[in-house]
């Protein structure tokens, strides 16, 4: 059989194609002009990342999810209406009759479509025989190009995934790093001896993150027993541990609250009994000389009841109302309660002129503020010239704030964190339960705010309460809650 020179030249040129995108244009340019062929499009299945269809067209490779189901091209013929319809939909323009050349034996099931601008029987036959001659070489080259595309796409994807992976990853050979991602490189910069395989523990605390180190060896060699290479992976467990700690903490708080409630209720009964019996005895006792003793006993049991009461309100987990209220008013109504304690303190009060609208529960917030001021007063006990400065207004971050500063001894650095923990107290026995500050923080946090404490340079401590401001449209005046100025 005579092999035409055009076929030889075609074979040479197509073999030098290196990129799938070049393929359609090349085919298009090889077809003699007299055949009046139009666009050449290559469709194939790409299995990467579940992207199913892609096509090369006019020198560009398009990755596209095929809009329509992949028809059985093998059974289609030139002139088949479904083909034109399919191509029109996919290519976004009306398509003339096209020749369908499938390559089912190649991975990816590529199908070549060649549009015929002059759809005559003769033209069709010409084109068919053109491609029949070249089918073999096209098939081989397509296979190569598709493999290469698939491979380089996979490789690039792998590279992206590996490189960009948030957690440190490294590939080791002979225990030396041959490839690593950015996260690993960053870590290695800070910790040069990262690779020392001390088998003490696989949990590492690096910077402020906690990592668990994993090593996945790759077995090679004749019987898969040789470990030369492997993948080193540092799993970032910081968030997990933080979350776990938070959960444990809230569980602890919940159990404490439950315990508090149980104890309170258990104690209430006998206490009621004691105080009731004392009252009854007092009335009915013939011995008037014991009157004072009865009074003291009653006072003592009342003190117990008060403690139980505050324990209960601390542990209360029921829903409370959230009304619109004025934080300044809370402050105003709390100060009188501390009149005696504040009597000997030189108090400077600087409140904002207008209302400070926030959302919360009046009495709960009152209790919180009360407890913080009370704490300040107690810190000033025995201080020669005690001073307290209470300010309220709008903070830099646009929140409502109350700050309570005293010139007491301040709070030791180590205790600054613990001060809000329940039952943490440096007070004398009988002076308080150590629940006040914890309760205050809990209440304020419950309304979206925060309480913080810091030591003041001149000596003393400063408590700061922050609460989110109520926006205009949130305001719904409920009775006397919001004072209108």
């Amino acid at each position: 059989m005579e092999i035409s020179s055009s076929l030889i030249s075609f074979t040479e040129k197509i073999s030098s194609l290196s990129h799938l995108g070049e393929f359609p244009r090349f085919i298009s340019s090889s077809i003699p002009k007299s055949f009046f062929s139009g666009e050449v499009a290559l469709f194939y299945e790409s299995s990467l990342l579940s992207l199913r269809r892609s096509y090369a067209r006019k020198g560009q490779v398009y990755e596209k999810m095929a809009q329509n189901p992949w028809p059985e091209f093998q059974n289609m013929n030139y002139g088949d209406h479904t083909v034109s319809l399919y191509l029109a939909r996919e290519m976004g323009r009306p398509f003339s009759k096209a020749l369908v050349i499938p390559f089912p034996e190649t991975t990816g099931n590529p199908v070549l479509f060649v549009e015929l601008l002059k759809p005559t029987e003769k033209g069709k036959l010409q084109l068919q025989s053109f491609f029949l001659e070249r089918r073999d070489i096209i098939h081989r080259v397509l296979q190569r190009l598709l493999l290469h595309t698939g491979f380089s796409r996979a490789s690039s994807l792998w590279g992206h995934v590996f490189g960009g992976w948030r957690e440190p990853l490294a590939i080791l050979k002979n225990f030396k790093v041959i490839r690593s991602n950015r996260a690993f490189e960053q870590l290695a910069l800070d910790y040069p001896d990262l690779l020392s395989f001390k088998k003490t523990t696989n949990f590492l605390r690096l910077k402020d993150r906690v990592y668990k180190r994993h090593y996945y060896p790759v077995l090679s060699g004749p019987d898969k027993k040789l470990i030369e290479s492997g993948v080193l992976y540092y799993q970032d467990l910081t968030d997990y541990f933080q979350l776990r700690e938070k959960l444990l903490q809230s569980e602890r708080m919940a159990s404490l609250a439950r315990l508090g409630q149980n104890i309170a209720h258990e104690l209430n009964n006998p206490l009621t009994g004691i105080s009731s019996l004392i009252q009854a005895l007092r009335e009915n006792s013939k011995e008037l000389s014991f009157l004072e003793e009865f009074q003291e006993m009653e006072k003592a049991s009342r003190r117990c009841q008060k403690i139980i009461g505050s324990l209960l309100s601390f542990s209360r987990t029921t829903e409370t109302t959230r009304d619109a209220l004025d934080l300044n008013q809370v402050l105003e109504e709390t100060l009188p309660l501390l009149k005696t304690l504040l009597a000997r303190v030189h108090l400077t009060l600087k409140t904002s002129p207008g209302p400070l609208p926030v959302r919360g529960n009046f009495s709960l917030l009152q209790q919180g503020v009360f407890n913080i001021i009370l704490n300040g007063c107690q810190a000033l006990k025995g201080k020669p010239s005690p001073k307290m400065e209470i300010k309220s207004g709008f903070s830099k971050e646009g929140k409502a704030f109350i700050s309570i500063k005293d010139n007491g001894p301040g709070i030791p650095e180590k205790q600054l964190e613990k001060i809000f923990q329940p039952l943490w107290t440096t007070k004398e026995k009988g002076e308080g339960t150590g629940l006040g500050l914890s309760m205050a923080q809990r209440v304020i946090k419950g309304f979206g705010g925060e309480v913080s404490v810091s030591n003041v340079s001149e000596g003393g401590a400063c408590f700061k309460i922050l609460l989110p401001l109520l926006k205009e449209r949130d305001v719904s005046l409920t009775g006397s809650s919001l004072k209108v100025v």
């Binding site: 209430n268 009964n269 009994g273 004691i274 009252q279 009854a280 005895l281 009335e283 009915n284």
Partner: protein, 134 residues
């Protein structure tokens, strides 16, 4: 208060029972006590009290359940006492007054109970009368 009443106190706390008994006896009432539901149900129909002070939380059940198990023929005024603040109790009926524990003044509680008899207050259907600062 001149009339002698038959008063029953149901509470698992012995001191509370003692206190009520002391007060009641000093006012010349006929007092009886019960320490749990079982005892209460045994004594109540026989004693047929005019006034009952009933604790809600008893070792063998709920005070309200006791109210429901009584023979319907009995006539009495009932003061229910509770240490808890759950609002569930408000669902129940058959009692005339709800008192929260701990009570500040047992004499007031007792007097309010006596008042129920002499003003013939009807049982609580929906609203609750509470003495929170008794």
């Amino acid at each position: 208060m001149n009339k002698t009443l038959k008063v029953l106190v149901v509470d698992d706390e012995p001191l509370i029972r003692r206190a009520f008994l002391l007060v009641g006896k000093s006012r010349r009432h006929e007092m009886k006590e019960a320490k749990d539901g079982k005892e209460a149900l045994a004594i109540w129909p026989l004693f047929d009290p005019d006034l009952v002070f009933l604790d809600v939380l008893l070792p063998d059940g709920n005070g309200f359940q006791i109210l429901e198990s009584l023979p319907k023929s009995l006539r009495f005024k009932c003061v229910v006492m509770s240490a808890h603040d759950n609002l569930e109790e408000r669902r129940f009926k058959g009692f005339h007054l709800f008192v929260r524990k701990p009570f500040e003044d047992i004499f007031k509680v007792f007097s309010r109970g006596e008042q129920l008899i002499f003003e013939d207050i009807s049982p609580i259907e929906k609203k609750i009368n509470t003495i929170s600062q008794a």
